[in-house]
Symmetry: C2
Subunit: 145 residues, 2 copies
């Protein structure tokens, strides 16, 4: 198993791509995004519709329309995208799927994973979308396979 679902992988990549290519209010269409991050177009459309409905990204219909990310949304941490798509299962809940697992009734892996979960959460919450723009622009980072 991977860390994120396919949906979430595509979602994060698309958000970075939109932020990267549509800086200063310019919009970008679904076809171009899908090609840019190498994902199935119609599937990605569903994902972006969902993120748009949830207010994580922005969109406008019609000619010259497309997806973009408002300046407020650019400040969102990556954890917002992950939580919107995959929920908080990566950060909370028991690694062994036990409902009663807690501090007083810990599963065998409870303490070990507590630290790791916190670290993942802090990391994803500590960086926002905008922070990657410079690095993407300077060509250090890559979004395509």
């Amino acid at each position: 198993m991977a860390i994120f679902s396919k949906t979430c992988e595509y979602g994060i990549r698309a958000v970075f791509f939109i932020a990267h290519t549509s800086a200063n209010g310019r919009r970008i269409g679904i076809k171009e995004i899908a090609a840019g991050i190498d994902s199935p177009e119609f599937f990605l459309a569903k994902i972006l519709q969902d993120l748009s409905r949830k207010g994580i990204i922005n969109s406008i219909k019609g000619p010259n329309g497309g997806f973009y990310i408002s300046s407020e949304n650019l400040k969102r941490p990556i954890s917002d995208i992950v939580e919107a798509i995959d929920g908080n299962g990566l950060f909370r809940g028991c690694a062994l799927g036990l409902k009663q697992c807690s501090e007083v009734n810990p599963c065998p892996l409870h303490d070990e994973f507590k630290a790791i979960r916190t670290r993942i959460y802090d990391m994803l919450r500590g960086i926002n979308i905008d922070q990657f723009n410079q690095e993407l622009l300077s060509g250090i980072l890559s979004l395509k396979k």
Copy 2:
């Protein structure tokens, strides 16, 4: 998304349960294990068959048969169970699903996740099944929901 698949959650819980209840060569049947860890019996049977085939746990058919864990297998790290069931996707590969992601061509989350993946792997590799027995016996840890 959770960290492990359902299959893996049940698998780990079952392995702990077998190790816990069948110390010194005693065997335990699938029904008892399923009840003990609160998992669907036939589904768990499949999982244990698989782990048995892969040599992670041991089993014997017939009267007084059942599952057990040899002393060598008790020394296995938890990572062996995870790798046998969920593969190494949690430890290796790109968090964003990019095939070309690497040190020289890193995805935006590459460095952040490198440390976390390593930590998860080291943790799961650093503790073996046997180590939990004492804690389970002393009642500190819990396997049932």
